[in-house]
Amino acid sequence: MTTDTAEKAPTPATESHGRSWTGLGWGFLVKLLLMMVVNAFGVSAIMSAWNAEAWVILGALVVFLVVADWVYFSKRMLPLKYIYPGLVFLLVFQVFAMGYTAYVATTNYGAGHNGSKQQAVEAALIQAEREVPGSPSYPLAVVRDGDTLGFAITEDGTVEVGTADQPLEAVDGGKADDSGRPTEVPGWEIVPRGDLLSDQALAKEVTDLRVPVSEDANDGSLRTREGSTAKVYKSSMVWDPAADTLTDTESGVVYTPNDRGTFVGDDGSTLATGWYVSIGADNFVTAVTNPDYAKPLLRVAAWTFAFAFLTVATSFLLGLLFAIVFNDDRVKGKKILRTLFILPYAFPAFLTALLWQGMLNPEFGVINKWFFFGADINWLGDPWLARFSVLAVNLWLSYPYWFLICTGALQSLSGETTEAAKIDGAGRWRQFRSITFPLLMVSTAPLAISSFAFNFNNFTIIYMLTGGGPNFDDTSVPLGATDILITAIYQISGVQGGRADYGLAAALSIVVFVVVGIVSGLAFRQTKKLEEF
């Protein structure tokens, strides 16, 4: 449509369709419309960021939007017009994620350290406030006098009122209903229940209000949770913001914050809830030097390399073999056969892993029953057999990928070079070794490297098939013979059991990222040599 009109009304060569005002100007209008949509979404996103008070996101959105408008309405930014959307995605999904992981790696964020210090103080106060044993449940009326809130209850038939500063005191002339809830308190206005439920600020004031039951603080204070009943509670913890300490009034222990995000008492005890703080490179130091992990991690690393390399090698060779066989003109029904070959690739990997886990069951699995005459071969229970099984299942999963790639690459090879070799008297093997294979490697080697990087972190197959087991007998950490680095990280950092140490996990992932990066970088250098053929 756009090109049609543009052709009818030829424009000067220097002006693009997007700026064209000659003729109908559809090119410009379409761009304007698209940019309006972009701006509309951008502005609404900025508004929701404003409402959510997410200032960093708001700032980033504003920058992205302004730059977008500038790029697409400016005359000069031609290359950016093409790469800007890609750049935004790169920043949002790659750079941000990596930066955030790096940031988490320098903190102790994880179990017991997952909020701010203020929240840790609140938690300590919540945990220290206990119901006084045997406290009755008083039907409660929340009362106010101007801005002062108070609680009214009946004790032994008389209505009593108190505020935060004024302990409970009997008032004359108060009335209560049958349940004992005061209905009339002279000098005080009873706050309607609807107000309590609908006014968030008032509700918070009420739940935070503590009315001492007597002059003696040890008797405790009235407290309500839902605004209609009150019980006597006593807190044993006092927060002193000026001194930055929590004091246990019962034991007299004073808790001070340490630089690891924990309150430590002067008797050496610690409070349950901490907060997250920056701990610099400590996670990296732990990751590399902890003796409990160092040795098993070396074994795991060795197996990770073996696993990734062998997976790529075996699946590449098998895929290549099938590709060559099914590329031969004499094979009939190639299309159907090729489709069938691709099937394993189309199944979700985690389902396949579960399925194979069942098939490899020594007693009930079909593998032993059909192929090994019911022999009791414990495929996933013996360290070496388990490693073999993992490789075999992963081969089954990934050879179709290489079959596809190699088929495509083979079909794009020109027949002339092979023809020439044939005339020169080269045999089939010689043709394959000296011509087909090197030419094939030029296009497949980069894919082999990416496949290596993928399998280096192939969490799914390990986790779903063996869970990393069978466990090592001679280590003190629960790591197993088929654990690769990424499943070991999952295990060590406690994400598995729910006691996650995300800081350590992030640090370990970065170490693995560096290893994979170096290996891939070196490998890519090698592939450049292939292109010189």
Binding site: M36, S44, G194, Q200, T207, N471, G494, G498, R499
Partner: protein, 421 residues
């Protein structure tokens, strides 16, 4: 001229688009704030505009929805139910409450409590006027350091399930008695228990372990768990030996070839006389007649399974704490709401007086309840999260024929070290 029409069209479209975007947010808000239904109480309480966010899983959604409807009608407040995958709630709650993005109330399992307290994400709750109607084991499970942090509503525990056509209805007196009956019935597998394949499953095996007097963690006088590992020593070793004797290299009653699906399949096809499973497995037993009994003792003491409790937690960062507590104490802790929760998703109720005869397997529910009564709460201390990997792996190794005492003692040593480190 045509150019101008085009321009006008563009301007009109963009204005309409912007309007649609901005009105989108406001119409969302107004639709969420449903007007209070015309009932007598609504005139007294009008909390329109207040909004409560509750996390639930798919199974419990209809039940909580029913309670929420009454609540909405009587108070005018709005309840927003967010349906999540149950297993994700734990980590999401821990991660999101500190950021202020979490819910006011969430459904959850009691063994998450220690981590929640450590993370500072839960508030204490009051069970209200019906406090004495809650099962004491459930309240104890929802308590931490003597404070109640969750409102329990259901319990669950594994029990012995027996094929009545093969071995009758009588509960076996001991493990050996059970095996004998199973063998006499002539089936290939007198007893099958899920050990989760090579991974090992200390949870399902736990009643048999406690019958040797080897609890995971030692309980103090009040019933709270300490962080002292209790399954070491002579009792633990006796259990390990027993496990080895009945394992693959011994009598073969317990085998790592059995996982959850296999155990259910064997039992349902009548190839297995007894199995140990929880109420969640009942729907797999469509082809057999069965009865549920407490797990028999293998080591002489009571076979106490882990009792799991599910309930409601209130976020420590909730801006609507009063409303959330109002909802829990007056709209969940009532016989009607508890009944509705049970009808929507039959789990063993933790509230007295719930009529369980409506369940698909009323007799089975009674059996599970009997089993839960002799059970112990699963530890809710955060240290429990570190136990599973060591514990399961050691059991799996012993079942496969490793030296029981050596393997078990090494596990205790490693575990104790891991808990201290």
């Amino acid at each position: 001229m045509r150019n101008k029409i085009g321009m006008a069209a563009v301007v009109a479209t963009s204005v309409a688009l912007l309007a649609a975007c901005s009105s989108g947010t406001s119409s969302d808000e107004s639709s969420m704030t449903s007007s209070p239904a015309a009932s007598d109480t609504s005139s007294a309480i009008d909390a329109s505009g207040a909004k409560l966010t509750i996390w639930t899983d798919e199974n419990r959604q209809p039940a909580i929805e029913a309670a929420a409807k009454t609540f909405e009608a009587e108070t005018g407040a709005t309840v927003e139910l967010v349906v999540k995958n149950f297993d994700d709630i734990r980590s999401d709650f821990l991660a999101q409450v500190p950021t202020g993005e979490g819910p006011d109330i969430t459904i959850g399992a009691h063994d998450w409590l220690g981590a929640f307290v450590e993370g500072g994400v839960v508030n204490t709750v009051d069970l209200g006027t019906n406090a004495d109607k809650f099962s004491s084991v459930a309240v104890q499970a929802m308590s931490y350091n003597g404070q109640v942090y969750g409102m329990p509503y259901s319990t669950e525990a594994v029990a012995l399930i027996q094929n009545t056509d093969l071995v009758g209805e009588d509960a076996p007196a001991t493990f050996d008695d059970m095996i004998q009956k199973g063998v006499d019935s002539g089936v290939k597998y007198p007893f099958c228990i899920n050990v989760n394949g090579e991974v090992g499953d200390g949870y399902t095996m736990y009643p048999l372990q406690t019958s040797f007097g080897a609890p995971v963690f030692v309980q103090d006088a009040s019933g709270s768990y300490t962080t002292e590992v209790g399954m070491g020593g002579a009792n633990g070793e006796a259990f390990a030996k027993w496990l080895g004797e009945n394992g693959e290299k011994g009598k073969g009653y317990i085998s790592t070839t059995i996982d959850y699906a296999t155990a259910n399949e064997l039992f349902n096809s009548g190839k297995c006389a007894y199995t140990v499973a929880g109420p969640w497995a009942l729907s797999s037993y469509t082809d057999v007649n069965f009865k549920v009994n407490p797990v028999p003792s293998a080591g002489g003491e009571t076979a106490a399974p882990f009792v799991g409790v599910q309930g409601f937690y209130v976020s420590s960062q909730s801006a609507n704490a009063l409303l959330a507590n109002e909802f829990l104490t007056n709209y969940i802790a009532t016989p009607e709401a508890m009944q509705a929760l049970y009808d929507a998703d039959p789990r063993l109720p933790a509230f007295e007086g719930v009529d369980t005869s409506t369940a698909p397997f009323p007799d089975a529910i009674a059996g599970f309840q009997a089993s839960a009564e002799q059970g112990v709460p699963m530890p809710n201390i955060p240290q429990m999260g570190s136990v599973w990997d060591y514990w399961n792996a050691a059991e799996s190794k012993i079942i496969k024929g490793a030296d029981p005492v050596k393997t078990w003692d090494k596990m205790i040593t490693d575990l104790t070290a891991a808990l201290q480190g």
